[in-house]
């Protein structure tokens, strides 16, 4: 089974909704696939957060207040009720929709006689579980960091490479500096011209090399008569 085959069934596996055969196949795949195991772990963590989240308890005084305001609204007085009891799961930033106050889905019901409205005190007392503080699970999402311990190695390698390149460049410049000195030029007794073939009609040849071991050079000059 490949990851592409397994992915559509991972959610069902996490929820225990697969058949025994599918369950075994996914389990076998998970045994060898870390990526899918991570998906399952993430789903289970999210499921755990959702399961452990309970609505906050509302005390009797609050219910009484809501009841009064509800009655007043039904009698055409007061402002619409806005429920502000949504709790916030730490670590998950609320979306704009979540931040908006919860309003009843349906528009306000038509006014009815007050007697038809059950008294807030008639509401059974909240169950003990509802009075408990909601369980919170903090999901901390950390950005994945590369192999941080090896970052300095990359910096070191880069620095060494840069130093090598600079060093090689300097060495090349150093070795390529011509070993010229005043006596480096060939004098008459250092060179024997065995023949000269001047093949360019646009230049004239000028041989330099006078008496007393003067410097030898072969110059050409543009032939002015050729234009």
């Amino acid at each position: 089974m490949t990851c592409d085959d397994a992915k559509p069934m991972l959610a069902g596996y996490a929820d225990g909704e697969l058949s025994a055969l599918e369950n075994d196949a996914i389990a076998a795949h998970l045994a060898q696939c870390g990526r899918c195991r991570q998906i399952i772990r993430d789903q289970q963590r999210i499921q755990h957060v959702l399961d452990s989240h309970q609505p906050p308890a509302v005390d009797d005084a609050r219910w009484n207040e809501i009841g009064k305001r509800l009655r007043a609204e039904l009698e055409g007085q007061g402002e619409p009720i806005q429920l502000k009891t949504r709790s916030r799961i730490e670590g998950l930033d609320p979306t704009p929709e979540a931040q908006a106050p919860l309003a009843p889905d349906e528009p306000s019901a038509p006014a009815r006689p007050a007697r038809e409205v059950p008294a807030p005190t008639a509401r059974p007392r909240a169950m003990p579980a509802a009075r408990q503080a909601p369980a919170m699970t903090v999901i901390r999402v950390r950005p994945r960091r590369g192999r941080a311990p090896f970052r300095w190695v990359a910096h070191l390698v880069g620095a060494v490479a840069a130093a090598l390149i600079i060093g090689l460049g300097l060495a090349t410049l150093w070795t390529r500096t011509p070993p010229l000195d005043a006596g480096a030029l060939a004098r008459q007794d250092d060179v024997a011209i065995m023949g000269l073939e001047m093949l360019d009609p646009d230049h004239n040849l000028v041989l330099l090399g006078g008496d007393a071991g003067d410097v030898a050079a072969i110059w050409v000059e543009p032939d002015k008569s050729s234009g």
Partner: protein
């Protein structure tokens, strides 16, 4: 007799296996111009007096290259504005090297292809470590010179 033949063959094989004898050839390309104020590249200052014997007063080192060239082989070094030099060392003694220096200019032929035109060919024997100045070829601005040396 057989031993002599074997020895001769072995000697021949050993010589064939040896790398070709190579000469270290250095060429300096110099761009010379005539300007209002004199300028000589620091690397060329030791030979500035000789360079000034030409009609120019500014000398800049344009090319500085050294190659190991096997005897009988030709090293072609492209220079500026389609100029090039060919250097062919042919024979070596303890003190000098026999070589042929050729100046080349590449020009477009009638068929549009780039073709080399020989300008000057100088067979010579040059003492090792000494530079022979040559050139003066016309550039768009100034002239092109060169100094060749062997080791």
């Amino acid at each position: 007799m057989t031993a002599l033949a074997v020895a001769t063959l072995a000697h021949g094989a050993a010589r064939a296996a040896m790398p070709e004898e190579a000469i270290s050839v250095t060429f300096l390309g110099i761009r010379a111009t005539k300007e209002t104020s004199e300028h000589v590249d620091p690397a060329l200052r030791p030979i500035a007096n000789e360079l000034r014997r030409s009609k120019y007063n500014c000398f800049r080192l344009a090319i500085n290259d050294t190659r190991s060239v096997a005897l009988g082989r030709t090293w072609e070094l492209p220079l500026v504005e389609d100029y090039a030099v060919r250097i062919q060392p042919n024979k070596e003694t303890d003190e000098s090297v026999q070589l042929v220096l050729s100046w080349i200019h590449y020009e477009k032929g009638k068929d549009g292809k780039r073709k080399p035109r020989a300008l000057l060919k100088v067979p010579m024997t040059l003492r090792k470590g000494k530079y022979l100045l040559s050139g003066g070829w016309k550039l768009k601005e100034g002239g092109l010179m060169g100094a060749v040396a062997v080791k």
